[in-house]
C-alpha cells in the first residue's frame, strides 16, 4: 500500500486490460448452446465483490460502514449461491441422454 499510488493504479490497469483480453478469447470459445449457463456463472463470479463487503463488515463494533458491508455480504451471497446452483441445474440438463428416463424432476 505504501507504493506510489499512481504505480498501484497502473498495475491495476495492466491487470485489467490483460484480463479483458483473456475474457475476450475465453468467451468466444464458449459454445452458443451454453450461453445461458455462461450468464449464470458470470453472475455468480461477479459477486466476488463479496470480498469488499467482508472487509467492510470485518471490524468489531457497529457503524454505518459495517452495516453497509453486511448488506453487501447478504446481497452477494444470494448471487453466489443462486448463480452457481442455477448454473448447476442448467448444466446437469446438458448431460448425454443415454439413460433417459431417470432425471426428470
Amino acid at each position: 500500500m505504501e507504493a506510489h499510488s499512481s504505480e498501484v493504479f497502473v498495475i491495476g490497469l495492466t491487470v485489467f486490460f490483460l484480463a479483458c483480453i483473456i475474457g475476450y478469447y475465453v468467451v468466444w470459445s464458449v459454445t452458443p448452446a451454453l450461453h445461458s449457463p455462461l450468464m449464470g456463472v458470470t453472475n455468480a463470479i461477479s459477486s466476488v465483490i463479496i470480498v469488499g463487503a467482508i472487509l467492510a463488515a470485518g471490524p468489531q463494533g457497529f457503524d454505518t460502514s459495517k452495516i453497509f458491508g453486511l448488506i453487501g455480504v447478504v446481497l452477494a451471497s444470494v448471487n453466489i449461491f443462486g448463480g452457481f446452483l442455477v448454473t448447476y441445474r442448467m448444466l446437469s440438463m446438458f448431460k448425454k441422454k443415454t439413460k433417459k428416463t431417470k432425471e426428470k424432476e
Binding site: A19, G23, P32, G52, L55
Partner: protein, 460 residues
C-alpha cells in the same frame, strides 16, 4: 500469501468460463468456479482486520439460503427474469461496498474520512455509478420480462437528450464529490444513476431483452471492476473484466443476430407501434389451415423434420410435449433436428436450456449456421412459437424493419407447419408472407396443446 490465493481464485474463474466450451467439460468448470469463490471468501476472512465472523457468517447464511431457495425453485422458462434479478443484486452490492469504503476508508487503506485519496474517490464513484445503473436497469428489465411492466418500449420526446444531460450531470457530480467528499453528493450520485438506469432500459422492447440482459451482465462486471480499482484488489479487477467482456460479447452476438448495431438496440423504440401497411395487402390472401391430424400425417410421411422453436414455445411450456412428439417421429425412423436462431427466446441460449430440460439430446440441437443449408433437403419444417426469425422478408424486402436479419430458411423445405395462436404479427410488427404460401399449413392453437394432440394422432 493473500495475493497468491487471490490469483489462484482468479485462475479458477477463468477455467470456469473455459469449461463452457463444451457441455461435457462445463460441469467441471462450474466446480472450479465454486472452489475459486470459496478460496476468495476464506482468504478474505483470514485478514487481520476481519474479526466479526458471526455477523459475516450469519449474513452469508441468510443470503445463501435465499439464493439457493430461488435457484432450486425457479422454472427454466423464467430464467431470463432470474438472471436480471441477480444482476440487480450485484449492482446494489457494488453500491453498498462503495458506500462502506466511503464511510470507513481506513478499513480499506485508502485514506481517512474527509481525506480519501483522489484516485480512490474517482474509482469509488465510477463503481457506484455503474453499480446503481446496473441495479435499476436490471430491476426494470426484470419487470418487463416478468410481465409486471409492459414489454412495450416507452418512447418520449428528447429521450436521448435527457439521458445525455443526466450523464453529464453525473460527471459533474463526480468531480464535485472528489473535491469536497460530501456524503450528500455521494448519495445524489447514487440516486441520479438509479434514475439513469431506468431511463436507459425504458425504451427497449420485450424481444430486445436478450441484448439488454447481456448488457446488464456486462455492466455488473464493470461495476465489480470499479470496486476492484477502489480497493486495489486484482481478483476483483480480473473477475470484473472477465464478466464485463463476457456480457459485451453476448450483446454483440445478439445484436448481430438481429442485424442491428448495439447502439441501435440501446437507443431503443424498436417493435412499438409500427406502420403495418404490408399486412393489409395480405388481408385477402388465403391461409391454409390444418389441425393436429394433418400435421401428424404430413410429418409421418417425411424423412426428415426440422423443428424451429421460439419464445412462444417457452411461454406455452411446450418443450416436453414437443420432445415427446420428436421421440415418436424418431421411432418411425424420421430424422428430427432442432434449429435455434441466435435471438430465439429472451436470453442468449434460452432455447437450448429449455430443450435440454425436456431431455432433447444436445447433439440434435443446432445453431443457425450449422443447419441452415439443410433446409432444402428437408421435407418438413415445424415452426413452433417463432415468427420473425423465419420471415423471408428479411432477405427480400428492403423496406422491412427486419431486412438484413439472418433467418432460418424454413421456406426452402418442402412444407412448413406453423404452430401459432393467431395470425398476429411477430414482435417486429411485420407480416410473414410464408403464412400464405401453398406449402405452408397453419396450426392455430396453444403450442403445448397442439403438440399433445399431434402426439395423440401419431400414436393412434
Amino acid at each position: 500469501m493473500v495475493a497468491i490465493l487471490y490469483l489462484i481464485s482468479a485462475l479458477l474463474f477463468i477455467f470456469a468460463l473455459r469449461g463452457l466450451s463444451h457441455p461435457e467439460s462445463s460441469r467441471m468448470g462450474n466446480v472450479f468456479g465454486v472452489i475459486g469463490m470459496i478460496i476468495a471468501v476464506f482468504t478474505t476472512l483470514m485478514f487481520k482486520s476481519v474479526l466479526s465472523y458471526y455477523e459475516i457468517g450469519a449474513a452469508i447464511l441468510v443470503g445463501g439460503a435465499i439464493g439457493s431457495f430461488i435457484a432450486l425453485r425457479i422454472e427454466m422458462t423464467a430464467l431470463p427474469q432470474l438472471v436480471a434479478a441477480f444482476h440487480s443484486l450485484v449492482g446494489l452490492a457494488a453500491v453498498f461496498v462503495a458506500a462502506a469504503a466511503f464511510y470507513d476508508p481506513v478499513a480499506f487503506s485508502i485514506g481517512k474520512v474527509g481525506s480519501i485519496k483522489t484516485a480512490s474517490l474517482v474509482e469509488m464513484s465510477i463503481g457506484t455509478f455503474i453499480g446503481a445503473i446496473t441495479f435499476s436497469g436490471s430491476v426494470l428489465a426484470f419487470g418487463k420480462l416478468q410481465g409486471t411492466i409492459s414489454g412495450k418500449p416507452i418512447v418520449f420526446k428528447f429521450q436521448h437528450l435527457i439521458n445525455a444531460l443526466i450523464f453529464l450531470l453525473i460527471i459533474f457530480l463526480i468531480v464535485l464529490f472528489v473535491i469536497n467528499q460530501s456524503p450528500t453528493i455521494f448519495w445524489t450520485i447514487v440516486i441520479v444513476s438509479i434514475l439513469l438506469g431506468f431511463l436507459v432500459v425504458i425504451p427497449i422492447g420485450g424481444a430486445d431483452m436478450p441484448v439488454v440482459v447481456s448488457m446488464l451482465n456486462s455492466y455488473s462486471g464493470w461495476a465489480a471492476c470499479g470496486i476492484g480499482f477502489t480497493l486495489s484488489n486484482n481478483l476483483l479487477i480480473i473477475t470484473g473484466a472477465l464478466v464485463g467482456a463476457s456480457g459485451a460479447i453476448l450483446s454483440y452476438i445478439m445484436s448481430k443476430g438481429m442485424n442491428r448495431s448495439i447502439i441501435n438496440v440501446v437507443l431503443g423504440g424498436f417493435g412499438g407501434e409500427q406502420d403495418t401497411s404490408a399486412s393489409k395487402d395480405n388481408s385477402d390472401k388465403i391461409v391454409k389451415q390444418g389441425n393436429a391430424e394433418d400435421a401428424a400425417y404430413i410429418m409421418k410421411n417425411a424423412e426428415s423434420v426440422i423443428i424451429v422453436p421460439g419464445y412462444g414455445m417457452a411461454v406455452a411450456q411446450a418443450q416436453h410435449a414437443l420432445r415427446e412428439m420428436g421421440d415418436i417421429l424418431k421411432k418411425e425412423g424420421i430424422e428430427v433436428r432442432y434449429a435455434i436462431h441466435p435471438v430465439a427466446g429472451r436470453m442468449p441460449g434460452h432455447m437450448n436450456v429449455l430443450l435440454a430440460e425436456a431431455n432433447v439430446p444436445y447433439e440434435e440441437v443446432l445453431e443457425l449456421d450449422e443447419i441452415n443449408h439443410d433446409f432444402p433437403m428437408t421435407e418438413v419444417s415445424f415452426v413452433i412459437g417463432a415468427n420473425d426469425v423465419t420471415n423471408p422478408a428479411a432477405k427480400t424486402d428492403e423496406s422491412s424493419p427486419i431486412f438484413g436479419m439472418p433467418i432460418l430458411d424454413v421456406e426452402k423445405s418442402q412444407s412448413v407447419l406453423f404452430v401459432k395462436r393467431s395470425m398476429a404479427t411477430g414482435y417486429s410488427g411485420v407480416d410473414n408472407e410464408l403464412f400464405y404460401r401453398d406449402n405452408t399449413t397453419m396450426l392455430f392453437g396453444d403450442a403445448k396443446k397442439m403438440c399433445e394432440d399431434i402426439v395423440k394422432s401419431l400414436s393412434a
